[in-house]
Amino acid sequence: MLLNTLIIGSGYAIVAMAFRLMFSVSPFFNLALGASAALGAYLGYSLLPMFGVWAYPLILFGVILFTWTQEAFIYRPMRNAGASPMVLLVVSLGVYTIFESVIHLIFGPQYQTLGSAMDLTQFNLGFAHLPLVQLIIIILGLISLAGIYILLQRTFLGKEIRAIAGCPELAYTTGININRVIIIVSIVVGAILGLYGICVGFDTGMEPTMGFNILFKGMIGAIIGGPTVLAAYLGSMILALAENIGVWFFASQWRDLIAFVIFILLLWLRPNGIFVRAPKKMSCEFKLTKSKGNKK
């Protein structure tokens, strides 16, 4: 159960961390992020038979371009024009729907897989067999966790991201180019989701609706954990564990029911996330006023 929790939880965690990173600089529920993961899988389906291993950089480039294009040509102009997070959410839903329809038109509606080449490689752990692709998902989850943590805590870009997440107005007044930071973050997020999408294509296969399913559990993992990357990772693991408990101790069809009862219970007890203390009562406006006051 613990190994399966780690495998499933790592998948949720990759999406949760990517979602959390994007949300920290562009605070709306970007549903089109699910499309980025699905694009990774479908580009893999098209390019891997043609280019073999050389397809991977092309797939990543494609997904990054897709995520960047959305940010540069859709969300940024709308944000600059004063669009609210609710409007951006609806627009991202539109982007996702268009993407899903295009995938449907090009690849058809049926279930497909990226082949079983990676399934054949398995690691015998004694108590269980671990396929290569699932090992890669676990490693990708850990690399994403470490990478995003280092990015946020040890780099100047990370400071900028944290400043924007804390108070965008204040970050802007200190000279941080918010649009540049969002573009860089969208590229990082696109790369993470693209890689994960390829893994999903190998592991459980793909269908045009896969993007939303991938994003859904990731978003819940991020909300359960809290606003930090580590919290999103751990929150995803708790979600996966709750699902597995549902399957093991109750009936399989109760998996989601048990998971969501635990989810609501945890958030009822800790509304800001399991791994977060109650927030300090200091709003962005207050910080801004305080900052202006200091200048005087």
Partner: protein, 357 residues
């Protein structure tokens, strides 16, 4: 105001132009042309059109027109589409596939006195005078499954069933027969929700109670594919069987060499004709829909007057016995259920081949 009236008149004129004359019999098909079951819907649509084209080349008493709309395998869309067919388009007959759509369509067709022909599991879709169901029934399929399990010396089995009405009903009948027969031990039964992607825990849970000789899956695409994959990962082999699931998906790589029970489907001649015409294989219900349309048109062609009476057509359909069609030989019983026989098949090079061949 004059402009507005002109536009309204033009619209009315266009509407009048679109109306079919009294000699045209309109049929409507509500099929899943998008979504996970689209390959089934497209196959059914092609088969209906194939039958219609063949009739249109003949000198027939009436003209026949087929309207097709996409219900995306959603019950509420089926309701809206079938309502439109019956009440707006005045369709004389409607077609659906699978119980999600058929259960919704049958009362609408019944109330509108339109004939409803479907290919769906369960007896419910055929409830009512105007409803007909053309798929091999649970009893026939589960009897054959149990006989084949015993023939192959299977001593224990585990059931993995999707939480949808067709799958749960069929698996329940099989479970009851296995328990009554007492020759095969039921290791476990797990019902999972449609859309489940992770079957590892479900399989591990069953294995914790014992290792069955074979797993039986009853679900919707891609359940069987994923279960096969997880079985390979967990146990190192794919000891899996099903009723129909292996041929409901185009991805059959994991099922190579596996046997299963298939409801009456296309004959070799029909399958070859379909493949030649559409460049793709025909899926479950395709041949059944081809037969459904042929049966209907044959029954309408026996009408003497242009004012087509559906009650008389229903009576003619109920008299169909030992008829040869795209699914082989079949009869229609007094409840409007097509009686046909399932066969045991094996997947070879991605195709379902009858064991005796």
């Amino acid at each position: 105001m004059k402009k507005l009236l002109s536009v309204l008149c033009a619209c009315l004129a266009l509407t009048a132009c679109g109306k079919d004359d009294a000699n045209t019999v309109v049929f409507g098909a509500s099929l899943p042309l998008t979504g996970n079951m689209a390959h089934i819907g497209v196959s059914a649509k092609n088969s209906l059109e194939m039958a219609l084209n063949e009739w249109n080349k003949k000198d027939t008493k009436f003209k026949y027109k087929l309207l097709v709309e996409d219900d995306a395998f959603e019950a509420k869309k089926v309701a809206s589409i079938v309502n439109k067919f019956v009440n707006v388009d005045h369709a004389k007959a409607v077609f659906t596939v699978f119980s999600i759509g058929a259960n919704v369509a049958s009362p609408i067709a019944q109330n509108g006195h339109a004939i409803h022909m479907t290919c769906a599991y369960g007896s419910q879709p055929a409830d009512g005078f105007y409803n007909f169901n053309n798929i091999t029934q649970y009893d026939n399929q589960t009897d054959l499954m149990l006989a084949e399990l015993k023939k192959r010396g299977i001593k224990s089995i585990a059931l993995l069933v999707s939480n949808n009405i067709g799958s749960t009903q069929q698996a329940e009948i099989l479970e009851q027969k296995i328990k009554k027969d007492k020759k095969i031990k039921l290791i476990g039964k797990e019902i999972f929700n449609p859309g489940t992607k992770d079957f590892k825990m479900i399989i591990e849970k069953i294995l914790a109670h014992g290792t069955p000789d074979i797993f039986y899956v009853d679900g919707i695409t891609p359940d069987a594919n994923l279960i096969a994959k997880y079985l390979k990962e967990t146990t190192g082999k794919i000891n899996l069987t099903t009723i129909n699931d292996f041929i409901e998906t185009p991805e059959r790589e994991n099922f190579e060499g596996l046997w299963f029970v298939e409801s009456a489907s296309g004959t070799d001649e029909f399958n070859a004709q379909y493949e030649q015409q559409y460049g793709d294989q025909v899926y479950l219900c395709g041949a059944n829909m081809y037969d459904n349309l042929n049966l209907l048109i044959e029954a309408y062609e026996q009408s003497e007057t242009p004012d087509i009476d559906n009650d008389a057509v229903v009576q003619r359909l109920l008299n169909v016995k030992n008829k040869s069609g795209a699914i082989g030989t079949f009869s229609i019983d007094e409840n409007g259920i097509v009686q046909s026989s399932a066969t045991v098949k094996v997947i070879k090079k991605g195709k379902a081949i009858a064991i005796d061949k």
